[in-house]
Every structure is written in structure tokens, then in C-alpha cells.
């Protein structure tokens, strides 16, 4: 059980770190949103799974409460994170920022 918790914490930290590196390294807004959203969401899933396992291993009322509340936090993250990044990408495109070295940009060409 302990090994599983440590493994999940390590995986979560690795993917969150990947998200932060992607935020620094990618060239424009859209690719940064790619890296940041995907990696932080995936890393958070593993962190919260570690918390849930800990809660159930801990046992008792307190551990169960911990696990259930962590799962609710995970649901909130899973719904809000992609929606927020979608809103940011839409706002950036309407604000006139074009994708870097884009091969094709159908949205700027106008509606069909």
C-alpha cells in the first residue's frame, strides 16, 4: 500500500513538472495551454488517487471523509480545468492572437 502511494505521488509530481516545463518552453499561447492543461490535470489525478488510497488505508470516519472530499475536488478539477482553458483559447483568438507558425487557421477564415 505504501509503495503504491509513493509511486502515485512520484508520477503526479513528474507530470505536474512536465506541465510547468511545457509552460516555459512552448512558443505561443495555444501550445502553452496544451501543455499546461493536460499535464496538470493528469498529475492532479494521480496526486488525488494517492490521497484517496491513503484515506481508505487510514480507515475510520476521518479517512473516509478525506477520500470522499478529495474525490469531489477531483471532479471539480476535471470539469473546470478543460472548460477554463477552452475559454482562454477562445478569448485569445478573438483578441487577435494568431497561432505561431500555423499551417492552417480555419477559424480566422470565417464561418462556413
Amino acid at each position: 500500500m505504501n509503495i503504491l502511494i509513493y509511486a502515485f505521488l512520484a508520477i503526479g509530481a513528474a507530470f505536474n513538472g512536465l506541465g510547468a516545463v511545457a509552460l516555459i518552453r512552448f512558443p505561443d499561447v495555444y501550445t502553452r495551454i496544451h501543455g499546461a492543461t493536460k499535464c496538470t490535470t493528469f498529475g492532479s489525478i494521480f496526486f488525488i488517487l494517492a490521497v484517496v488510497i491513503y484515506g481508505f488505508a487510514h480507515g475510520g470516519g476521518e479517512g473516509g471523509t478525506l477520500a470522499v472530499h478529495a474525490l469531489i475536488a477531483l471532479a471539480a478539477l476535471l470539469i473546470t480545468n478543460p472548460t477554463g482553458s477552452h475559454a482562454l483559447a477562445r478569448g485569445a483568438h478573438r483578441g487577435g492572437i494568431r497561432p505561431f507558425r500555423a499551417v492552417v487557421d480555419r477559424l480566422a477564415e470565417g464561418k462556413r
Binding site: M1, N2, I5, Y6, L9, G12, A13, N16, G17, G19, A20, V21, L23, I24, V29, R32, I33, A36, T37, T40, T41, G43, S44, F47, I48, A50, V51, Y54, G55, A57, H58, E62, T65, L66, H69, A70, I72, A73, A76, L77, T80, N81, T83, G84, S85, A87, L88, R90, G91, A92, R94, G95, G96, I97
Partner: protein, 88 residues
């Protein structure tokens, strides 16, 4: 008992990642870049709160994290609305 300390270490790592993201918040050339960095930091803060809730044995921290996630989502939506008007 079993490895509360490791949750604390993970939270410390997350704080380091937040510092890295603040770098993008500081240098980001456009307002949209800064907004993306802020959104990332919000996600990291939520996860860190959950980890700290385990490290200190306080369920209340996780409730705060849930409310923080929803409020930061609303603030992100408002920032996106602001970006639509083409403010640089």
C-alpha cells in the same frame, strides 16, 4: 502514520513548480500568456491544498480547495471575457 511526510514533500515540490510558473507569469509577452500561467498556478494550488490537508491531517483544507477550484474557474472565465476585446 504511513508517510504523511511524503505528502508534505510532494506539496513542497508543487510550490517549486508554482515558482517556475510565476516565471512565465512575469515574462509572458501577451496578456493571454499571463492568464494561462495564472490558470496553471490555480490548478497547482488546488492540488497542493489537497496534499497539505493530508500532511496536516485537516479535512477542512480539502473543502477550501474545492471552493478555490470553483472560484478560480469563474475568475478564469472573466479574464477570458476580457481577453476577447483584444487588450494586449
Amino acid at each position: 502514520m504511513i508517510g504523511e511526510l511524503s505528502f508534505g514533500v510532494a506539496a513542497a515540490v508543487m510550490v517549486g513548480l508554482m515558482v517556475v510558473s510565476v516565471l512565465r507569469l512575469a515574462i509572458g509577452p501577451t496578456a493571454a500568456d499571463r492568464a494561462v500561467a495564472l490558470d496553471t498556478i490555480n490548478t497547482l494550488v488546488v492540488t497542493t491544498m489537497v496534499l497539505l490537508g493530508v500532511a496536516f491531517g485537516q479535512v477542512v483544507y480539502i473543502d477550501v480547495a474545492i471552493v478555490y477550484a470553483l472560484l478560480s474557474f469563474i475568475s478564469t472565465l472573466y479574464i477570458a471575457r476580457y481577453l476577447e476585446r483584444g487588450a494586449r
